[in-house]
């Protein structure tokens, strides 16, 4: 497959006064583990639903493995497994039958559908609940089941919309293991999450969305490198006022108990020049602690900047 798993161009969708997707351009490569971050209302779920046909775009293009999501909807949907954020499971049947039905809707014959349903339930660890209806599962089991349903058609693109929302740590790690295994086997993963740590830990690249637009796309490490690090410097003779430090990258210098707290882009690269500048001013450095910007801080900065830009533009 040479086409990207997902490619959108100037994708737009409006609900009344709300522009849910505002010219979204995004490419997710085949086999990639791709994260989609953004505040509530950023357009993440609208974007996902556009891919699977639950939302009709107003304009722009959206393709999955080179197939148009509207003109070639059957090819697109055959390749996607979706675990949505909201539970949307058939309550009339035991969960194993729900999985068999889902497999059947993908054209998988009854014997194979049964085998896949059993495998999927075993994979997510709720095999013993196979004859139970969805409503009678615990919250964590419901999350596991929704993932099983997404897996049963053996998709090329697995879309997970907040898969670990509200689940305990153990289950979160279990789900991560399953998803990682799928990705290792070649499945492209599109993950939306509010847990920044999740994106940082799992994703090859993340896109930060806000107000229906893509704000940034990069590897988590790259994004973090763009953030502002904090360098705490212990000094033998702490000054009363913050010294002037003409060092590239430094954005702020503040006095702390036993020294200085310096805010700088690329803390590791800035620290040597910073120490030299302080020693030239007659200070003796006694300790140095660099705290890297977290993806969460970068996310907050980027989405705040985007909102400020939007307000100024308006």
């Amino acid at each position: 497959m040479t086409d990207p798993a997902i490619r959108t161009g100037d994708l737009r969708k409006r609900y009344g006064d709300v522009q849910a997707l505002d010219g979204l351009d995004l490419t997710v490569d085949h086999g990639e583990f791709f994260g989609l971050l953004g505040p509530n209302g950023a357009g993440k779920t609208t974007f996902i639903n556009t891919l699977v046909g639950l939302v009709h775009k107003d304009s722009g293009t959206a393709e999955v493995f080179g197939f148009d999501v509207e003109d070639d909807y059957r090819e697109v949907r055959d390749r996607i497994g979706l675990a949505p954020q909201e539970f949307n499971v058939d309550r009339f049947f035991p969960i194993i039958e729900v999985l068999e039905h889902k497999a059947g809707y993908h054209g998988i014959g009854s014997e194979e559908a049964r085998r896949r349903a059993e495998d999927a339930l075993k994979t997510v660890g709720i095999w013993e609940k196979r004859d139970t209806r969805f409503d009678w599962l615990s919250g964590g089991m419901k999350r596991r089941f929704v993932l099983a349903r997404a897996l049963v058609s053996n998709p090329d693109l697995l879309i997970l919309d907040e898969p670990t929302a509200g689940v305990d740590v153990q289950l979160r790690h279990d789900l991560w293991d399953i998803i990682n295994r799928m990705n290792d086997e070649g499945t492209t993963i599109l993950l939306t999450t509010h847990y920044i740590e999740e994106a940082e830990r799992l994703c090859d690249r993340v896109a930060i969305m806000d107000s229906g637009r893509k704000v940034e796309v990069a590897a988590p490490d790259e994004l973090m490198a763009r953030g502002t690090d904090t360098i705490d410097i212990g000094l033998a003779d702490p000054p009363r006022t913050a010294p002037r430090l003409d060092v590239e990258g430094v954005t702020e210098v503040a006095i702390i108990d036993d020294g200085l707290s310096v805010t700088a882009a690329g803390g590791s690269q800035t620290a040597p020049a910073l120490m030299r500048a302080l020693e030239q001013q007659g200070h003796t450095v006694t300790s140095l602690d660099i705290r890297r910007a977290s993806l969460e801080e970068v996310f907050v900065d980027l989405t705040r900047d985007d909102r400020e830009y939007a307000e100024v533009s308006a």
């Binding site: 949907r77 049947f93 014959g109």
Partner: protein, 255 residues
Amino acid sequence: MNKNTVQFATLVRREILRFVRRPYNTFLPPIITNTLYFSVFGVILGSRIGEIAGVSYLQFVLPGLVVLGAISDSFENASFTIFHGRWNDYIQAVLTSPMSNRSMVTAYVSASALRGIVTSLLIVGVGLVFTSVPLANPLYLVAFLLVITTLFGGLGVVGGLWASDFDYLTVMNQFILRPLVFFGAVFYSLNVLPPLWRNVSLLNPMVYMVNGVRYGMIGVTEIDPNTSLAVLTGVTVIVLAIDFLLFKRGYGLAE
């Protein structure tokens, strides 16, 4: 089986299992209701009415009750399954699958038509307890039942897509379908009506359905069955085309 057939068969099977596994909600009510109809209208009142069109009153009302049950249940099945799936969002499992829109519609309508036909057979079964059931023109009977249940399965799909609350389903079934059937010459012959009301009744599509099924069962009709069958088939094709279009446009299904 090829992929398309498996997809279609899976959805039909799911729909059939849904109503077969809940007989207290699906099949018992028409059995009880029609037992009451036969007891009151057929045995108690019918014995005082005597013959209509050369058959007993019980035999005369039986085809109308079959139509009433068939259209109510085929409509209710399609409208409920679509609306309930929308209400709880689980219809999305079908919508996000690679099934074609036509295949989805055909599956929902086929299963609903089947339920209407099963209900018809149950009503005939209840009728057999009270009277003999002649089969004057069985091919017409089968043809009319197929067309009627398909038509109302198709209308049920529209209703299920249109409804935004459970009240809508009640309104459609109780306030639109039932009055039309009751004024559709189920319990009386059109010939007993004054000319004005007879002509007004001819605007009611149920009259043609009841007369068609009556022709199939007891060989008596007040309207040409071939014309009725042709018109009903035409209307069914139009309704199915509307269903396909609504699914394609995502009416009530996609944003």
